[in-house]
């Protein structure tokens, strides 16, 4: 079983990478790969309750929530990024775990591949 961390660093709406990062992670359940998703930098806003690109006619990001539930996908977010981008009201449906940059970096050796989207 390979462990793979998908890291998203760009904002939803401005780009499709948060959607594609989650979609790729969900695709991993087809095989012997255990995916996790990490949000850093601008991507941290993905988790804000009020963030929804669909309001602007773009692809919804909230749609990933149902698959997070279905697959029980581990979602991590960097605390420093949440602070920097003023994300105070996190949407609990993402089931995200908040970790500091130091905690995240200490965690990296447990993954076979860390894949930035």
């Amino acid at each position: 079983m390979k462990k793979v961390l998908f890291v998203i660093y760009q904002a939803p709406g401005g780009s499709v990478w948060p959607n594609e990062g989650f979609r790729t992670a969900f695709g991993m359940y087809a095989d012997e790969v255990e995916p996790e998703v990490l949000l850093i930098d601008q991507a941290a806003i993905t988790l804000a309750k009020e963030t929804e690109p669909q309001k602007l006619g773009l692809l919804s990001i909230k749609m990933v929530q149902k698959y997070i539930g279905k697959y029980d996908t581990k979602v991590l977010v960097e605390k420093e990024s949440l602070d920097k981008f003023h994300v105070t009201n996190m949407d609990e449906a993402y089931r995200a775990e908040v970790l500091s940059r130091a905690e995240l970096q200490a965690r990296l050796p447990q993954y076979d591949h860390v894949v930035f989207m």
Binding site: A11, G13, E50, T51, P53, K55, L56, H86
Partner: protein, 88 residues
């Protein structure tokens, strides 16, 4: 001059544009350009700034607490009408 900013502070070209902005220039933050208002408001001090509200709100930010004028796309057209020159 209308100055359109669509990337955040990580983009060196946007920083260049903002530094170059004269007090009379109309800066418009759109797309990820709205992150200047969130993480680096100092770069906007003394400048004439408007934020595209649908882009701001789609990224989870509330118009209520925003100290800059917000415009919708019709409002952006008004700013385009008012500024024949552009840097974008």
């Amino acid at each position: 001059m209308l100055i359109l900013v669509k990337y955040g502070p990580e983009n060196p070209a946007e920083r260049w544009k903002l530094e170059a902005a004269a007090p009379a220039d109309q800066i418009v933050l759109i797309q990820n350009g709205i992150f200047w208002a969130v993480t680096e408001p100092k770069a906007l001090e003394g400048k004439k700034v408007a934020i595209v509200q649908p882009d701001f709100e789609a990224r989870g930010y509330s118009a209520e607490s925003c100290p800059w004028p917000l415009v919708d796309y019709a409002g952006l057209i008004t700013l385009i009408e008012q500024n024949p020159k552009s840097m974008s």
